[in-house]
């Protein structure tokens, strides 16, 4: 954890605080949400953004000047989840290109991806989309030059060293390596979101 948390104003109604890790971001966000002064508190991978009603500007300024200086460790994340993945094939059309760029065989890549222990860094973009880390930093996959106009829900992509699972059908710019049949977002389910930040994820090849 860095020595001092500092809030930077990035709009007249948004502050942002830089942190070191997704876990720090999630924990700080949880703390800030409890205070109830913000309209929204959103954790990024290494930031926490706080949007607020400018009518409460002075109150929020005072609050930001007096940020907690240590991020407490909160309750443990929900139990680990296994996510089955069909690697390659019709819904993983970029697997070959990704492997070629990384200089790996497809078998070696699948083995690496499914043997690492991953964790959800954050949920964002669209409802339920999960940004999942766990691949070694040496894996670095650039985004597609042109986003796909349409992909199906459950598509699994790679960007940098992150794995992303598209919870909804729609456009997407991450190279796709496979597909999962589990549903990350189901509006009719009692808990609509399958994954939560910091949750451990294992990918199981099928």
């Amino acid at each position: 954890m860095r020595a001092r948390l500092t809030a930077v104003q990035i709009a007249e109604d948004v502050f942002e605080i830089a942190v070191d890790t997704p876990a720090d971001a999630q924990r700080l966000a949880l703390e800030l949400r409890k205070i109830g002064l913000a309209e929204d508190v959103v954790a990024g991978i290494n930031r926490v953004a706080v949007s607020f009603d400018p009518a409460r500007h002075d109150q929020v300024m005072a609050w930001m000047d007096d940020l907690p200086q240590t991020v407490p460790t909160n309750e443990a994340p929900p139990p680990a989840v296994d996510i089955p993945i069909q690697y390659g094939g019709e819904f993983g059309p970029d697997l070959a290109n990704v492997c070629a760029a990384l200089g790996m065989t497809q078998a070696a890549f699948v083995d690496l991806h499914s043997s690492c222990t991953h964790a959800v860094d954050m949920i964002g973009f669209t409802p339920g989309f999960a940004y999942i880390s766990g691949l070694p930093d040496s894996v670095s996959v650039p985004r597609l030059d042109m986003p796909r106009p349409r992909l199906i829900a459950g598509s699994v992509g790679i960007s940098g060293a992150l794995t992303g699972i598209y919870a909804l059908a729609g456009p997407g710019g991450w190279p796709l390596i496979g597909h999962t049949s589990v549903c990350l977002f189901d509006k009719d389910r009692e808990s609509p979101f399958l994954l939560a930040p910091l949750q451990t994820v294992r990918f199981v090849p099928i």
């Binding site: 990024g44 926490v48 985004r143």
Partner: protein, 312 residues
Amino acid sequence: MLHVIEPGLQTTLQGAPRRGHRHFGVAYSGPADPLSMALANRLVGNAGEATGLEITYGGFSAEARSPCSIALTGAHGGVSVNEVPASDHRTLHLSRGDQLQVRAPTSGTRCYLAIRGGFDAAVYLGSSSTYLPAGFGGLDGRSLQLGDDLIAPHAGPWDRQIETPHALRPVFLNAFALRACPSAETDTLPSKDVEMLFREKYTLGRQTSRMGVFLKGHPMQPRSDGMMKSVPVFPGTIQCPPSGDPIILLCDAQTTGGYPRIAHIARCDRHLLGQLRPGNSVRLIKRTPNAAVQDLRAKNALFQPWLGFDPI
């Protein structure tokens, strides 16, 4: 009850924004021009965020299946009831069988229809607003279709007829000046690009949606390697993708994004984003955060006496 005869290109039920769920990836939604929605609700005696219709590019018609009081605001190219021209910014009392028609606007994009007591809609995560990408809120999470029946259980008729004061009726032209503050990654632009951003007249791109609009004509050269970690974004955030054409995010904005955030539309002018249309000219006026807060207070003070609350 209103029976939809012509749904228009994209007509959705919108109420309050879906606040407090961005950390699950859930966008705000709500009216793209919330000031116009609040003005419409005022004319039928509703709370400002009561559920109404957002009609995009007009072409909407409906029949009243029971007496009701409605009002229209925002952009439109004329309203008629039974083919007789009717006024916007005024309470309209419809009788059973009356046919309402909303024509396409010549400037501005979205027209708002409020009904006394608000429309029934599916409340999801605390809001009735339709979010099309995930199909929730509103009427089955979708835009209206021919034959839909819109239920409004307390639609009136109301015993009053009022008009928005003329000085408070927003006028939408083909040129917009939007106040904006520099943001977190403004410094990733070369300084000449920052000057350009707050000086040049941009043209609104052809691709527009409730998620975002492009500013064309003066591409930037962002010094980003394209590997930036995803960061929180909000309605009003201006991102700069590798193409260099800035994107302004609207009410259905995604919650995180991986492009540099080069500016942020001030809250006082964010309601205008819902009225931008392709080809419009857009200039960004640089403000400090403190000045933007003053601008917001001034605009809210203008509308507060009429609406009874701060609308933006």
